[in-house]
């Protein structure tokens, strides 16, 4: 038997989990069907049954530092087999959102991102900032002639502007993640998965990172889910599309400053690579939106946090594509405003990353590394064999 544990229910925490989409959590009667129907759950201390009772009892400390919450890839197998419609998958998603909000630095940003009332302000800030910079540069009214975005928002100020905000964003991420890592460590010493398992072994942080990155690049865990097979493909497309565009951006900046080779011709391999990545993301995100809309009615809840992230991502893709097309067709009156909107949503996507649903990228990676580091992931893998 585990050591005596004094239950201190945090009712506010329960209410917030319910608000974040875990509204079904009180339906659970602990039958543990979910722990078996989950294909990713390990043999020792499987999830999500235990997470469900922690959520019901308001055991915030146990849940926010629980790496298992992040081992779930939300395929929804448990939602289908649940005899009570308690939707463990939705509850874990809500706990993940709560975790992101909880570790937000500064904390008010996490709260603001979660509230629809703040959305105009959150989009207004980058709009005003960009307009201010443009006013400073004196290009608020773009010069006449062919559409050339560099003449609207010059490249160097653009890179300095975004670069400095990205630096702030990275600091925010690091602070949040280090707090998260500390809590993960304290939870493991409290619960220790390896004590009771003979197969599990710990690994160094370095090997943990290698293993986690391999997992993420191949999407192995996604593929194991049975109920939600196509999420594997849609997420894979989105992921590689995003990664591709990220690399393209860096390559183009290097090309411009190091090799002074700019602009690139349309059929330059780098250009083609960027456009293919965009297309992959367009298909991936469209698919995700379609699936979520289809499931919203019955099997799976998509919350405000889900939708704001997805739609902002979608807005980035669409405005990006339109921006590119308008340059070719050379309609200045529409091209510059669209480019402006594009910059605003790019800001919202990237700079708000640590506080939005996008932060799952960071927190899940850290949790996967920790799972290997602590021996949890080994237990998962031995269960699969």
């Amino acid at each position: 038997m585990p050591d005596a544990y004094l239950v201190k229910p945090d009712r506010e925490f329960v209410r917030e989990i319910i608000d974040l989409g875990g509204e079904s959590l009180k339906q659970c009667f602990q039958c543990a069907t979910c722990s078996i129907s989950c294909t990713l759950s390990p043999d020792r201390h499987p999830f999500p049954r235990k997470e469900m009772i922690w959520a019901q009892w308001g055991l915030k400390d146990k849940l926010i530092g629980d790496p298992d919450v992040w081992l779930c890839h939300r395929c929804g197998d448990c939602n289908v087999t649940c005899p009570r419609s308690a939707a463990p998958s939705d509850v874990l998603a809500a706990v993940r959102d709560y975790t992101i909000r909880n570790y937000s630095f500064p904390r008010f940003m996490g709260k603001a991102l979660g509230k629809p009332a703040f959305l105009p302000l959150l989009l207004g800030i980058p709009a005003v900032l960009i307009l201010a910079v443009l006013a400073g540069l004196g290009t608020l009214n773009p010069p006449p002639g062919d559409v050339e975005y560099g003449r609207f928002f010059a490249h160097l100020p653009l890179q300095i502007f975004f670069g400095s905000f990205v630096a702030l964003m990275i600091v925010a991420c690091l602070v949040g993640v280090s707090r998260f890592w500390k809590d993960l460590n304290s939870r493991i010493s409290r619960q220790s998965f390896n004590q009771s398992s003979t197969t599990a072994s710990t690994s160094s942080v370095g090997t943990g990172i290698v293993g986690a990155v391999k997992d993420i690049l191949t999407h192995t865990k996604f593929r194991d889910c049975t109920e939600n097979k196509n999420r594997y493909i849609s997420h894979l497309l989105t992921f590689y599309g995003f990664a591709g565009l990220f690399l393209t951006t860096i390559a183009v900046v290097i090309s411009e400053y190091v090799f002074h080779y700019y602009p690139l011709p349309l059929f330059h391999p780098l250009k083609i690579f960027g456009n293919v990545s965009t297309l992959a993301m367009l298909v991936g995100v469209t698919w995700i939106i379609y699936e979520r809309a289809r499931k919203q009615r019955d099997t799976e809840i998509s919350t405000y946090n889900d939708w704001t992230f997805i739609w902002i991502l979608y807005a980035v893709i669409i405005t990006g594509i339109v921006t590119e097309i308008l340059r070719f067709v050379n309609i200045a009156s529409v091209a510059y405003p669209v480019y402006f909107v594009h910059l605003v949503v790019v800001f919202a996507l990237l700079i708000y990353l640590p506080f939005s649903r996008f932060a799952h990228m960071v927190y899940r990676t850290v949790a996967l590394v920790h799972a290997r580091y602590s021996g949890r992931e080994e237990a998962v893998e031995s269960a699969e064999q």
Partner: protein, 419 residues
């Protein structure tokens, strides 16, 4: 209460333990009764049971006492192989249409069995849930009331065969008997239509109907019964082998929005009881009971506590979510999370017993303004008219003793409505 005419006359639909109890209690109070039973015999699910919990005594014992009271009472008209089709009228003044199905065997029958030997056709034995076969002419079970053979019209070859007619020296067989209808006038009607086991084949992840060594608790009653298909020896259906390990799966399909929403309230005790059947025959067999919650209210908790003394009985908290068969041995691997043990369990066993729940029987009787059911399909106690009453498992899933108490109360209500 003269017993003549519709005044003081009660129609009881269903000849299980509840219907029998309503009939004898009301008859002994002076009413006359028309008891209508769909099967060829009285006793219903009780007749199919091996033992009662918690006293572990045989149901046939109490059933025989009830049937003796029923036979001794001249006010009970008993119709087997009959169904009530329609009821019209109002409290104190009902007219019911009863359809009689042919038994093809009349009261001359002495149950000598000479007909069975010559009968060339076999049928699946419904009484034993299809575990064995009988001839087309058969006695439902040995202590049956009425003590008469019956012919399964669905499989009998009829007059073209007639071997039983020739074999019967009492002129008891009538292959040309036709269905007929009858109308009766009564003051009140009691629905004691009982229950059916939930159809375990509906449950996708538990393998019933797919793996032969996955059985239900109802089937277990027949396997353990001395008058059952194995003469009471509990063995594996697939190969007749002895059992080294068995898993009981509680809430199989029950308390599950995907299948049967309600809790039947008796399956926990039924499994604990059936664990004693196993233990009696196999002192060393490992028994597992996987549960969500054990429902053992009141004095039944003592029975639960007594079973926990059994060292080879493991009571595991965690619902079985998956069952797979090893095709080589036809053993089964049941998977559950052992919640208190802290891990997933994959338990290999010889036999799996699904503790399936109680579903109200379908009631096709046409009554004024229809019958009122609750969300689970059970008939509610308060029907459209005070003369229409409900007793026993037709109303809610309960054990036998609760059925009998409820039936006695319903008999009193029926008296108030028809005198």
């Amino acid at each position: 209460m003269s017993g003549n005419g519709k005044q003081g006359k009660i129609l009881v639909i269903g000849g299980g333990i509840s219907g029998i109890t309503v009939a004898i209690e009301a008859a002994e109070a002076g009413c006359s009764i028309v008891l209508v039973e769909k099967n060829a015999y009285l006793g219903g699910r009780v007749a199919q049971s091996n033992k009662y919990f918690p006293k572990l005594c045989p149901p046939m014992c109490g059933l025989e006492i009830s049937l003796r009271r029923l036979r001794a009472n001249g006010r009970i008209q008993c119709h087997t192989l009959a169904e009530v089709e329609k009821i019209v009228g109002e409290p104190g003044n009902y007219r019911a249409t009863i359809k009689h199905y042919p038994r093809h065997v009349n009261e001359n029958c002495t149950a000598c069995g000479a007909c069975v030997d010559v009968c060339p056709v076999e049928r699946s034995n419904v009484f034993n849930y299809g575990l064995d076969k009988t001839k087309a002419i058969y006695l439902p079970f040995e202590a049956v009331y009425p003590q008469r053979f019956v012919i399964d019209g669905g499989v009998c070859e009829g007059t073209s065969c007639s071997k039983c007619v020739e074999a019967c020296q009492y002129n008891a067989v009538d292959l040309e008997e036709k269905p007929r209808t009858e109308e009766v006038e009564v003051g009140a009607v009691v629905f004691a239509t009982g229950w059916q086991p939930y159809d375990a084949a509906q449950i996708e992840n538990l393998g019933f109907g797919q793996y032969s060594n996955v059985i239900t608790n109802s089937i277990m009653e027949r396997l353990a019964a001395a008058n059952g298909p194995t003469e009471g020896r509990i063995t594996r259906p697939s190969d007749g082998k002895e059992i080294d390990s068995v898993a009981f799966v509680q809430c199989a399909g029950s308390r599950d929005e995907n299948y049967l929403k309600h809790c039947s309230g008796v399956c926990c005790l039924a499994s604990l009881k059936q664990a004693t059947y196993i233990r009696e025959q196999y002192p060393e067999t490992q028994i597992f009971i996987f549960y969500i919650d054990v429902r053992a209210p009141g004095r039944l908790e003592d029975f639960y506590a007594a079973r926990q003394e059994d060292e080879k009985l493991s009571i595991v908290k965690g619902k079985v979510a998956k069952i797979e068969e090893d095709p080589a041995t036809q053993d089964l691997v049941v998977e559950a999370e052992d919640v208190f043990g802290g891990g997933r369990v994959s338990q290999r066993v010889n036999l799996v017993v699904l503790a399936t729940g109680i579903v109200p029987s379908e009631v096709g009787v046409d009554v004024p303004n229809g019958l009122i059911r609750d969300e689970h399909g059970f008939l509610v106690a308060e029907q459209n008219q005070p003369g229409l009453l409900v007793a026993g498992c037709a109303k809610r899933p309960v054990d036998v003793s609760a059925c009998m108490r409820d039936a006695t109360g319903t008999a009193l209500k029926a008296l108030q409505n028809c005198v």
